[in-house]
Amino acid sequence: MSKKNREKRASEVESPAGEGGGGMAWLPTVLALGALGLAFVAWTDAKRTRDELTKRIVSIDQRLIQTQTQVASARPKPPQQQGPDPSKVYTVRLDGSPYRGNPTAPIVIAEFSDYQ
């Protein structure tokens, strides 16, 4: 009985120590997993934030383009070429009009004007 008791005690004495060593061994793993978990959460969070920001930037861009288009269409158009097309050759009726210079000159300048 005494031997058995001694063994039992030994096992009881050893056991807590053994269990204690095993309990400390999982801690780094748990911590590492925890850190990993936190990192994952942080990464997911950052990704979600980034995705949302990207979406908002895209929507802001679109609205900016819309606004620019509206402004461009609202703005008065630059005055179109007023009057005759400078690249065309027109026929101007000249009979009976006062003129000066050589009546058979190769260059004829018709001047439309008034005095005021």
Partner: protein, 139 residues
């Protein structure tokens, strides 16, 4: 510089918001009847701020025109139809402001520097195989 290479033809375009423009055009055409168009034109142009019937009669006297004849043409608006025909030509060509120029049919708008005219004139002379006068701005 272009001498006998150029003829300048006057087309009347009295603008409606220039109240003295039509009477002045009538005065110039009345002088034209007596062969003094450009002389009257120059006086009218030089005195744009002092247009009016008294001035036209004074210029006519200075130009030694037949005054009764001039006065009849002026007061009777004798050349109004011709002036209006010029204005109609301007409208159909699309000329809306003064001055507007056509150099051999090519439009130049507004009071342009001499170089702008020289450019078109030189191009026309080249097109017609005519010499460009020395000293003319390169076009």
């Amino acid at each position: 510089m272009y001498g006998d290479k150029v003829r300048i033809v006057w087309k009347n375009l009295p603008l409606p918001f220039h109240p003295n423009a039509m009477p002045a055009a009538l005065a110039a055409m009345a002088a034209n009847e007596q062969g003094k168009f450009w002389e009257m034109h120059d006086k009218l142009f030089a005195n744009q701020q002092a247009l009016g019937r008294d001035a036209y009669l004074r210029y006519a006297k200075e130009l030694k025109l037949d005054l009764p004849r001039f006065t009849r043409a002026l007061d009777g608006a004798k050349y109004k139809a011709q002036i209006e025909a010029d204005t109609a030509d301007a409208r159909s060509l699309g000329v809306t402001g003064t001055p507007g120029f056509f150099v051999n049919g090519r439009f130049l708008s507004g009071a342009k520097p001499f170089e702008a005219f020289a450019e078109v004139i030189n191009a026309e002379l080249k097109r017609l195989n005519l010499p460009v006068p020395p000293g003319a701005p390169a076009g």
